[in-house]
Amino acid sequence: MHRLILTSIVIIYACCANAYEIKVDPLIKEAERRILSEMQSSKKTPEDYFKTYLHAAEEAVRISRIQEALYFYNQALSYDTKSDKFSIYSQMVGLSLFSGQKELGIKIYSDYEKEYSKKNRSSQNQAEYLMYKVLTTNKLHSEVLNKEEIKFMMKDSQVSKPIFQHDIEQYFNRSEFEKIYALYKNDGRAHTQMDDQIIYDLTSILAKQKHQLHCESKFREYPEAQFSSYSMTICGMLIQVQNGQKPNKQDLSRLQNILKNFPRKKFLYSAAQKLF
């Protein structure tokens, strides 16, 4: 009996060559093996395996296990079913970018694009497609899309939001701090919350603008948070700079560590490097 199950697992794995290399903890693979062997013993179809992996991926997303979700989606893709795979690729591109795995996102994007072109898509799909086209580059959105495309994409507020974040990252990468500073300065609402405050404070220092640090009062109120908060770590460095001191290199290396938990904020590290 055991031999039969083992053989079945081998057969299943043989059929399921993965499209992308996505690593997960061995504990997950152990659960997967157990489930696959149970399914094999009850003669499930490829469609059943496909669905089971999709359920698992959706559950993983729901509990914020992005890496596992990518793994399960990837496993689902390896089954030959008639289902439209477009929305799976869409999820995978989005999740890769969200989890800071841009290289993976770019790889998946090429398959996503192929699936996208296979049939007419809704206007929301079109807006998302344009968004991913921008997000998988290191260019400003205005350098990737034409005017008509931009107009169409910006119709969707939820698509336009990540685009602006992407553009701000590009400005940081290009050391065009004045542009970010101007954007923030012109937006009266932009510095009432810490996440905006820290970008405004950081760019003001980098753009050599005189400016009362917004983050300082929070820094004083929660001194212990500077050891784990990216905004408080940056704030500590900015206070030093404003006091005419050099920022502490240990703070910079701590910032790098903290940002491992915040993949979408990694651009702050390279920006903070420029304080030295």
């Binding site: 559950e59 914020s64 939820q158 974040q165 919350q193 979408r264």
Partner: protein, 538 residues
Amino acid sequence: MSCNDQQAWQGVPSSNIHSEDVIFGTGQRAYTQQYSAYAEAMRIEGLARSYRARHGHIECANLPVNDPSLVALGGEYIIRERLSRESSGGAGCRCIPMGESCINGTCFCNEICPNHHGILRGRANQMAPTAANGLVFTNSDSYNGSVYHTYPMSGGFCTGHNIVTKKLQMLSDFRPNLQSRPALTKGTPGWRQYMKAQLKRFKNKINSEFVGVTGFGEICRDPELFQYLKSDMGFSFGGDEEFAKTDDYWNLPRNRELFGLNSGRLEFISPTLTNIPAKIVKDPDTDSPLPSEGTVEYQRLLEEKTRNIMHGLPQTLPGVPDIKTLSSNPALAEIMGEQIALDWRAFNTLEESPSGDAQGSFLYVKGDDEMNPMTATQMSVIRTQSAAQLPRFPAETYPRGASPGESWNENGPFQTMTMSIRMPEFNSKGGVSNHGRHSVEAWAQHRLPNGNMRICVRDPNNDQPSATDDSCNNYIELPPEGSSSEPTYSGIMAGRRLGKFNFNSHNPGLIGSSTTRIVAHCRKVNRDRFRGGAACTD
């Protein structure tokens, strides 16, 4: 015992998703046993990872259930639960004994059915739409995007904001007065650190325990603490700074009133001692000694607990009174902000689920018709649903200023119902130029004398969450039946024409797994009491 043996019962009430379908009539879904097994594997792997990070190695002892007798108890529960379901034709659930600290005012064997989510009643006071029960930051100023805004279309992660708020409401067990104190010597840096933490508690209106001093006058005579009070805590003494260093100043009736000294939140312990003995309490979640507030270790503990809540695990939060205070801490707010973005993403996964088993769309726009005003029939449906699902405001079912728990919405496991709103912008030719989509939490129905119905909502984009959410300041107003008027929205983007809006069924994964985990959590933190079984009459 191996980890696998323990897993056997950890996911016991996993039928909650099925029961969600039954309760909300969303139809049978193809959720399978395999699906739950994956979820469990991921949960356990997450816990193992967390344990490994803390202790450098992994062992079974960290898993939620590490006591063999508890495993046996779990096994017993499985049998009882199964027998009960079978005896009632397969549906329904078996109630399990629970500790009273999870449900205020109930005895051990009160009925708390995982599948009917009754345990969430224990969180009713955390779910009422008050400022204390909400995040201190709003969606519109985005802790979650670091972007400037496509004004007036601000925000963008409203659903993520709502989901994170709900997780905190459901899964947090706030214990503001649970705190440890190390052995202290008056006048040392360690003593000052402790005293600063107590001053912060005092400012945040949490019971505070000062040690080695007779009163605030003596605290102010310590230059470092006085400076802390003024510059970091923002206390102002005007021209009375020297006077503030005497107890006479703090005993003046107007100052007692001004600084809230009459509220009974203050204790001066061992006022004459120089060496103050330690008071160590344990973290109910881990049985480890709690670090003292104001230390980096305490901050790290709160971060770990916040992450756990974000990942769907109930946690005891020592020293913290409510969600508003928790989210004021910048490191914790960053964790929540990241999760808001992820949950927004997760939510969108559900909108257009590749598996086809999503719970329907919250915000997904299926076409421009979504942006057209509601038809009379559609509004009639909303009126009926509101009447059935929301408590009345202001009325006996939602007494303003009532004691916690009295505002419980009897018609649902949550105090609020998620509602999606479409708010289009029209171009000069009358076409839709912008797809405005928003998600709010409806919490009451308000019948007006003119026949209109207001649906009171909590809006994550509200610029002033500390204002008057519990006064129905944000609302959708529906005209009376038969009227040709259009509904309006008072909240953000007020004045814009309303497109379609509707209630959404609760996210079954969120509510189901949360219920399951609260049960497991209560079982664990109260194991000593409920294993005794003295009060058990079931």
